[in-house]
Amino acid sequence: MASLDDLKKRIASVKSTQKITKAMKMVAAAKLRKAQESAERGRPYSEKMNNIILNLSEGILDKDDAPKLLSGSGNDKIHLCVVMTSDRGLCGGFNSNIIKKAKSYFDKLSADKKDLKIITVGSKGNDQLKRVYGDKIIANISFKESKNANYFDADKVGKMVIEKFEAEEFDICVIFYNQFKNVITQIPKAQQIIPLNVKNSERDKSEDSYEFEPDEDEILNNLLPKNISTQIFKAMLENVASEQGSRMSAMDNATRNAGEMVDKLTIEYNRSRQAAITKELIEIISGAESL
């Protein structure tokens, strides 16, 4: 049995860990509110963007000269996966969930004999993926310096993806991120952004015909790259909110577990203290009796 001193030390250390997790939980809760707000504020933009593109693409999709970002390159040999994770740990299953989702997708690809390329956004994903898929990772981007997710960063990723697409380095692009549902539920998602999947999306049913200035092709060519950045930005916002939510519930659990452990250790401490006292008493009594 551990000595009294050891137990005392352990209780103190668990308590200080609990303080840390509690503080982290509160910080995450504060950040979560902000992240959630900005995720909600960011939604109208991507929704409107989507609507406009849907309206535009209706007429243009069947044409042969439809923009490649919309119709695809004609093949589906090389897949580019953009795996978006956080830069910090201690957020429960947040990163592993994305990685798991991504890995199952990778396995499917290799079963179908497709080529794979990976871009990781956020250092945690890179850490986990480089062990197995190190040779497939073509780039790693991390935004440790920027405090909040901002459009400028997303645009950088978007431009890089488009550049690689135009250089015909891949045919299909999928982004992986966590969609924020609520504090305890985040859904890992895989979303295809190139070619854009317009057929399965909900349409804003409007029979209105638009006037275009300049013509449809040019607008689409201008709009589609922007849409990619927008989708990536949306994913980033969802990810930030998910990360904080996940961290908050993980830290809440940790705090509770630490509390349980302190209770258990305190009981053990008291028991051994009593046992020691009893032992001393017995020694004194039996010593007195022998006189």
Binding site: S38, R41, G42, P44, Y45, S46, K48, M49, I52, N55, L56, N150, Y151, A154, D155, S206, D208, S209, Y210, E211, F212, E213, P214, I219, N222, L223, K226, S229, T230, F233
Partner: protein, 130 residues
């Protein structure tokens, strides 16, 4: 009958502006300035760097945009843009920064014709604001 319609300006971070009672909006469309009044035909166009002017009964607001898309439908004008500044709040120093950035970009020799055109536009507008 009122001749007012609704405008929404959205940037990736938030609703930048939402106003129910505007009477006229002038946007710097790609092929020239375009004034929009109520019951305009449905239109989609994109923007070049310039000034959006929003007129309403209570006065006019001016915004500087660098790019974006406008959609007008059912008396609802949506402007999507990634960089927009309210001229009232835009400080001189920020303006100088933007101008410097644009000039640097313009001097970049690898720039293609279309972006060169846009950057030159941007410089022109920024200079006129100074």
């Amino acid at each position: 009958m009122s001749d007012e319609f609704k405008i929404e300006i959205v940037n990736p971070e938030k609703y930048f502006l939402s106003k129910e009672n505007v009477t006229e909006v002038v946007v710097p469309a790609f092929e020239g300035e375009m004034g929009i009044l109520k019951d305009h035909i449905s239109i989609i166009s994109f923007l070049k760097p310039g000034i959006i002017t929003v007129y309403s009964k209570s006065g006019e607001d001016k915004f500087y945009v660098e790019d974006g898309i406008v959609e007008f439908k059912n008396n609802n004008l949506s402007v999507l843009t990634s960089s927009i500044f309210n001229l009232k709040e835009l400080e001189k120093s920020k303006l100088q920064d933007l101008l410097k950035e644009a000039e640097e970009e313009s001097n970049n020799s690898e720039i293609n014709d279309q972006s060169k055109y846009l950057v030159d536009q941007k410089i022109e507008v920024l200079k006129s604001l100074n």
